[in-house]
């Protein structure tokens, strides 16, 4: 009796093995094969941004697929921070997307580590940059290699509520100095109830960069070191603290709630009447704030220079590990140069990189688009060249600036100590 049961269980075990193992094997095999046949190629394309932006981009991609029926494009998008986390994981897993959206803060990180293809050679040569402003096109070059091409152009700018500033007797659109801005911001705060004049800019790396440029300095040197001293940062934070102490700028807890999305920012939540950002974000800010907003140049330094530059709003790049570099390059070229794309995506990411396309769009622009074109056209002669590509670790420096300044804003640290901490940690992070 005992023996039969034993034999039976043994047989049952064999049956189980026979069932389970093939199941697992088919599972594994199913994971392995995912390519379609028939000469068609499939490429993956990812970007960051809101759903509205995604809808526009998907329309442009659909048009591309119509024109290139042999190429199938799979798209996906996420919010800015999540985008980088996902991209890092995919890249580490050896399967980066074929076409990807890159930011200048991370260009060195990915380009310098051979994740991105050099578009000056191979398939990338098919991407035409003939009609792109050469200075703007050069912003995608790092250590002699073209790792990315600009997808749009924008400019650091001040977004503000004209009604609030007019009531305070100021007109930012005509240009201000930092002193007159401080005064105006204080007046806006005193009449605005809960609303302060400006979102405290001590946390913003872009504003620090512009402020440094106004004095002929730079944030990063071409060698990838800090281009400013502790004294410079000290003066910058003193300026920001002057705004905060006179209640022109947002209180510390409002400043700490800042994150890069217009919907979540103090201006978007009506807690301030102006904020430093990029001009192409005007519609998003307006939607969040609800009042008609406008863009203005940065307040200028002593010599009248606003320090603004032609900024690559974001880049397109091709993965060095992509098996479909030709199709990928084709998509990039289409997104950068096709006039139809310009019409579809508008100024969501900034101005079209292709100057011919841009001129055509500018002529037909209405509403917020027109505001942007007019703003950039007026500014164009004054715009400088973009700074060198920030070094590896630039993404971390931005966060470092934010949290060390928060220590100052909350009164937990003197400016001296905060500057020391920033400089020590930044130099460690960039070495």
């Amino acid at each position: 009796m005992g023996r039969t049961t034993e034999r039976r269980t043994k047989r049952r075990g064999v049956v189980a093995l026979a069932v389970v193992v093939p199941l697992l094997l088919t599972g594994v095999a199913a994971c392995g094969s995912d390519s379609g046949g028939g000469g068609d190629v499939t490429i993956n394309f990812v970007w960051w941004g809101s759903e509205g932006r995604a809808n526009l981009t998907k329309k442009a991609v659909e048009l591309f697929q119509q024109k290139n029926p042999k190429i199938k494009v799979q798209t996906s998008f996420s919010a800015y921070a999540a985008y980088w986390e996902k991209l890092a994981t995919q890249t580490a897993g050896g399967k980066p997307p074929d076409v990807l959206n890159v930011d200048s803060r991370y260009l060195a990180e990915y380009g310098g580590r051979n994740v991105l293809a050099d578009l000056n050679s191979g398939a990338g040569k098919a991407i035409s940059l003939a009609d792109v402003n050469p200075e703007l096109a050069a912003t995608g070059v790092y250590q002699g290699k073209r790792y990315a091409v600009p997808w749009a152009q924008n400019t650091p700018a001040m977004i503000y509520d004209p009604a609030a500033f007019t009531a305070a007797g100021a007109d930012p659109a005509k240009g201000m100095t930092w002193d007159s801005y401080a005064e105006a911001a204080q007046k806006v705060s005193s009449t605005g109830g809960q609303t302060r004049g400006v979102t405290d800019f001590g946390i913003l790396d872009t504003t620090l960069e512009i402020w440094l440029r106004q004095q002929g300095k730079q944030f990063y040197t071409p060698e990838g070191k800090l281009g400013f001293t502790g004294d410079d940062l000290h003066r910058y934070w003193e300026l920001a603290s002057k705004f905060r102490d006179t209640k022109g700028a947002s209180p510390a807890d409002v400043t700490a709630s800042y994150n890069t999305s217009p919907e979540q920012s103090p201006l978007g939540k009506k807690l301030t009447s102006s904020e430093f950002a990029y001009d192409n974000l005007l519609p998003a800010y307006q939607k969040a704030n609800g009042k008609p907003l406008n863009v203005a140049p940065y307040p200028s330094g002593a010599n009248g220079d606003t320090g603004q530059y032609r900024r690559p709003s974001m880049f397109l790049a091709v993965s060095a590990r992509s098996q479909q570099q030709e199709a990928a390059a084709k998509l990039v070229d289409f997104l950068v140069n096709a006039p139809e794309v310009g019409k579809i995506v508008g100024t969501d990411r900034g101005l079209a990189p292709n100057l011919k396309v841009r001129a055509q769009l500018a002529a037909d622009a209405k509403g917020n688009d027109k505001t942007l074109y007019d703003y950039e056209a007026a500014l164009e002669p004054k715009l400088g060249a973009a700074p060198p590509v920030p070094p590896k670790g630039a993404g971390a420096i931005q966060k470092l600036l934010q949290r060390t300044y928060e220590e100052v804003a909350f009164g937990r640290m003197s400016i001296d100590d905060a500057v020391n901490r920033f400089m020590t940690e930044a130099q460690k992070g960039l070495s």
């Binding site: 269980t9 043994k10 049952r12 075990g13 064999v14 189980a16 093995l17 389970v20 193992v21 697992l24 921070a81 980088w84 986390e85 890092a88 994981t89 890249t91 580490a92 990180e109 990915y110 580590r113 051979n114 994740v115 209180p251 510390a252 807890d253 409002v254 700490a256 709630s257 994150n259 807690l271 670790g393 993404g395 971390a396 966060k399 934010q402 949290r403 928060e406 220590e407 909350f410 937990r412 901490r421 940690e425 460690k428």
Partner: protein, 324 residues
Amino acid sequence: MTTLRTPDPPVAPPAPAARGRRGRPAGRRRKSQPEAFAFLTPWLLGAVALTVGPMVVSLYLSFTDYDMFTSPKWVGFGNFTHMFTEDDRYLQSVTVTLIYVLVSVPLKLTVSLLVAMLLNTRRGANGFYRAAFYAPSLLGASVAAALVWRALFMGGGPVNEILAFFGWHTPSWVDDPQFSLASIVLLGVWQFGAPMVIFLAGLKQIPAELHEAAAIDGAGAFRRFRHITLPMLSPVIFFNLVMEAIHAFQAFTPAFVIGGGRGGPADADLFYTLYLFEVGFQDFRMGYASAMAWVLLVVIAIVTAIVFRTAKLWVFYDDAEDRK
């Protein structure tokens, strides 16, 4: 004494600890059982491929400098020495996490025990209350709960308004370094359902005769709680303490969401796991992140071991005599 013996320990989990090495049933030596392994195969494959494998790799990575894109470079104990000697943010993350563990765990255990005692009566609606009080725990480490929490405690949110009504004007809790961690502790405490249910089960196992006898001898409610409930419940407290401490060390989601994905204002919510995530997935220092993960594992193991060691001093098993 034997007449008062409870049939079984109230919850299964503490039992292995109680039984110890001597208590293992002296079962017969088992022959190798291919069918058992056949049925275990899916789990075994999963465990090896998804847990053991990655752990071994991460142990290797913890001794390297690895940016995820280029191959890892061996640095020996470099990551570990950097952690303890040069990295101020690492120490900040340790401080924040320890404060969270030391404050939230006792609070959560106290609250869950109190609620369990309230619900341990024979009233009609108790079934409903039990479900209602347990519900927040179902949300567990969910992003949604943390988002709601952020909305409740932010500037101009309901908490601000209510406190202001009573004359206490506070800044935005989630955005102020002084209050931010407190709001996360409160979220942790609010999700007291799991330990509460276990406490409730434990309370039900305490024989009513003990309370009756003590009451007849003139013991008040507090004395009965102190000298009957607490000792009888100590194995359950022990189990909950271990589980909650481990959970608290690993807390991530609430800090990530409430702290705006970056360690909160001036790093006030920089939890250990959050810093680990940032180092690994945002700053591309996966070697360092792996080293951090292993240190956390070792620390949790040590803390758990200490709790187990001290258990002899305060955990009471009423059937301990039988086990010797």
